[in-house]
Symmetry: C2
Subunit: 472 residues, 2 copies
């Protein structure tokens, strides 16, 4: 039986049409919306008009964007058409629910034409403008994002939004050239730009973000999905920040191979709790941060020595194993063999009798994610399944994979959200712990995965590490 999901409330197809000048963070917002909705099991995809244009003209200079350049105008129109065609195809053939048209859609005429095409295809248009006249933010966007834009990089490989490209290609052109060329490009766009207008566009559904989210105008937001998207973008900010994740230290239940319960920490778990403040300090320096824990004893014990403000959330409690709470996997396999198999077959959807599925956990974590988007530096001490779900949000891990990710005990994970993805660092405490990782098809827990070969210093593992054990 399915739990509630946002997608069941509305059945209409929705297209978010981005509006605004270049370097206003449109693509970043588009990607965040897609990531958020996908995490909530809403099929979402962004269609970047610039990428379609690059099929014709891969390294344009500013002049390409002059509306008086008729040849290039034709190319840009064609790119928009291709993007829209693909978007509509995707709605019709891939059960698309929320598409994002990530272009500039800067004139009323162009928006009207997009509006009509979408309406003809039974797709509900929602315009989302990022309006920004704060020069500092604009320059920040140019420096942060555009310096690495495919428009200026001599590399045919397309950027993959979901992954970190740690070996980002160095621009072939010099930074000063790029900045000036980009500012010139913007000035061509400004000539024809018609921002969304409270009166003139009052018949359309739209969200207008003014200088990130300092002022927001919302017009004719009618459906649940629209209102969730409004609430989400309302809470976004662009201040740099870091999120740390940690499982509780090894618990007495972990030692016995039991799941659930409310056991205290093992002696090794207590050692991890003692070491955690040092690990955090090494990673965070003297930044102030807030610690979020669950209501279960093992997270309170793990965080007991951390010298920061603490907040307890029931929503951070471990996945509820229902009737299997307190059992070992072996006991579950013996007592409920069919359930055991059903869970292996679809771990994301499987709901323990009287308990929860991963999907259920995602739904109850939604307010946590929303609040995380609003906050700056946060350290979350929680449980394996919950941590997998939070991690999946930031790293865009597909649903079917997230329940199989290996998140070992006694390891601090540092997430740094950036414009093009999230950088991950794993810091091992070098305190041995049992493995709580169960491979598909067995009831045995894996080998101790904690690397204890070098006890003198913490091991920092790069973002490129393999997150999955065999079963991927």
């Amino acid at each position: 039986m399915p739990g509630y999901s946002i997608s069941q409330v509305d059945t209409m197809k929705l297209c978010v049409v981005m509006v605004g000048l270049p370097a206003r963070g449109k693509s970043l917002i588009a990607r965040k919306i897609v990531r958020y909705l996908s995490w909530l099991s809403i099929t979402a995809k962004s269609f970047n008009v610039g990428e379609y244009r690059r099929g014709y003209q891969s390294h344009p200079t500013a002049e390409f964007f002059d509306d008086e350049n008729l040849e290039s105008l034709k190319i840009r129109k064609q790119a928009l058409k291709l993007a829209l065609d693909d978007l509509i195809d995707w709605f019709n053939n891939s059960n698309g629910m929320v598409g994002v048209l990530d272009g500039t859609s800067m004139t009323r005429e162009k928006r009207e034409s997009i509006y009509n095409i979408l309406k003809t295809n039974q797709i509900q248009p929602l315009f989302l403008e990022s309006f920004c006249n704060d020069q500092e933010t604009i320059m920040h966007n140019i420096l942060d994002v555009k310096m690495t834009s495919p428009d200026y990089i001599n590399d045919e490989s397309k950027s993959d939004d979901n992954k970190i490209d740690s070996e980002m290609k160095i621009n072939i052109k010099d930074p000063e050239f790029i900045i000036n060329d980009f500012l010139k490009r913007i000035s061509y766009f400004e000539k024809s730009y018609e921002p969304l207008d409270q009166q003139k566009d009052s018949d359309k559904s739209f969200i207008k973000l003014i200088n990130v989210a300092q002022q927001i105008i919302i017009n004719r937001i009618e459906t649940y999905l629209q209102s969730r998207i409004v609430y989400f973008v309302m809470n976004l900010h662009i201040k740099p920040r870091t999120i740390w994740l940690s499982r509780h230290g090894e618990s007495m239940y972990n030692l016995e191979g039991k799941i659930g319960g409310d056991a205290g920490l093992s002696p090794r778990g207590l050692k991890y709790a003692e070491k955690l403040p040092e690990l955090v300090r090494q990673s965070a320096g003297y930044r102030d941060l807030t610690v979020w824990i669950s209501t279960l004893k093992r997270t309170a014990e793990t965080s007991q020595h951390l010298p920061y403000k603490k907040l307890q959330w029931k929503a951070l409690d471990e996945l509820d194993a229902g009737v299997c709470d307190g059992m070992t996997y072996e006991e579950i396999e013996n007592k409920f063999p069919e359930d055991f198999k059903a869970r292996d077959d679809n771990k994301y959807e499987y709901r323990y009798r009287g308990g929860e599925s991963y999907r259920d956990v995602v739904i109850r974590l939604e307010p946590i994610i929303m609040e995380l988007e609003r906050q700056e530096n946060i350290l979350i001490v929680t449980h394996q399944a919950v941590l997998r779900c939070i991690y999946a949000y930031f790293m865009n891990v597909p649903q079917e994979e997230s329940p199989w990710m290996s998140i070992p005990l006694h390891t601090l994970i540092k997430l740094e959200p950036k414009a093009y993805g999230t950088t991950v660092t794993r810091i091992k405490a070098n305190i041995p712990a049992v493995s709580t990782y169960k491979e598909k098809g067995t009831s045995q827990l894996g080998e101790d995965l904690t690397d204890t070969s070098n006890k003198s210093k913490n091991i920092i593992i790069s973002a490129k590490e393999e997150l999955f054990n065999g079963t991927r």
Copy 2:
């Protein structure tokens, strides 16, 4: 251990300052905000400037509101001062968290002065304007609300926002007089009205609702509490609608006096399921409605014959009794005598070992309430504790009382939210069922409360019925 509550995220005091002409629904919005926050355990209170003014002038005619009438201007200033004084007192002496100053605050000068007073008292001001130029809505507000305003009624008893006054006093003056006088009053206010302005007021935190929620301008929303209030008012609508609530039919567990579990219906429970469509039809007529159920068998079985669209929500599942799931109250008393007593002492806060408290249920129901505010006609088939929490929201029942309300089986409850409160009708199906009501201090369930004395027709009980059994 406390669960998460919204109140833990922000520690700052917040004052929502209502802005706008008369008959723009300001008091209704103010009351809804207070009710929503109170339900979430956030101490909130509204201070209606009009009520303070009535201390000096109880039945003013329109001329009283002419700014050229210096005597009355003085009275109105004094009323505002008294309201603000009380509000600040309340913040300081009653641990107030969100106060609402429910006046007109129509000029920039007046708002500036309120802003400064609040800031001096370490209270964060959030202006909330209801701007409306839709004549139909305004006239609807005048007819719906102002006809029964204490300004026009010759009755000294103050209106009690939380209760329905079914014997509403008849106005001593005739309707036509009231409408004209009120329109004249508005015209006096219009002379000095300065709406919130995107540029001029851009340094203030504000929400401006234009024609209910057709267009919304949000400025400098920075804290979590502010953003929750924005999201809440964004979802309000004023269309008339009805909500029906029903517990599942009597279950096999009910027969055995067991709590929790996932049992099917008893033969009498199945009878209720058969009768439910007829009860709903009699109450709803041919209106279209949507049925929301939990993920547990007994709500699915209860709703099986209802000819409407159905939606399953995990958030509607019964309060999780943790280790006590499947036990009778007697067994709980024997096995966990201390817990049993602790629950009786503070039923709202008591969290079952490995399970939930009423407070936890309220937090997971918050998205349901938000969605209910957005929707029109909904029938919810759910469980005793969940139903108590939903009912408490609509009827403004205090936390310490809600877990003790009697909500018998085999009874359909109809809620009609109105401007000044919610009308309740209880429709009994006249199908006998056990009582599941446990009185404080005993482990015995009460007598069968279902009235079966008249089996030929449904009994409709008025809103005045006593909702509490002895223990109130």
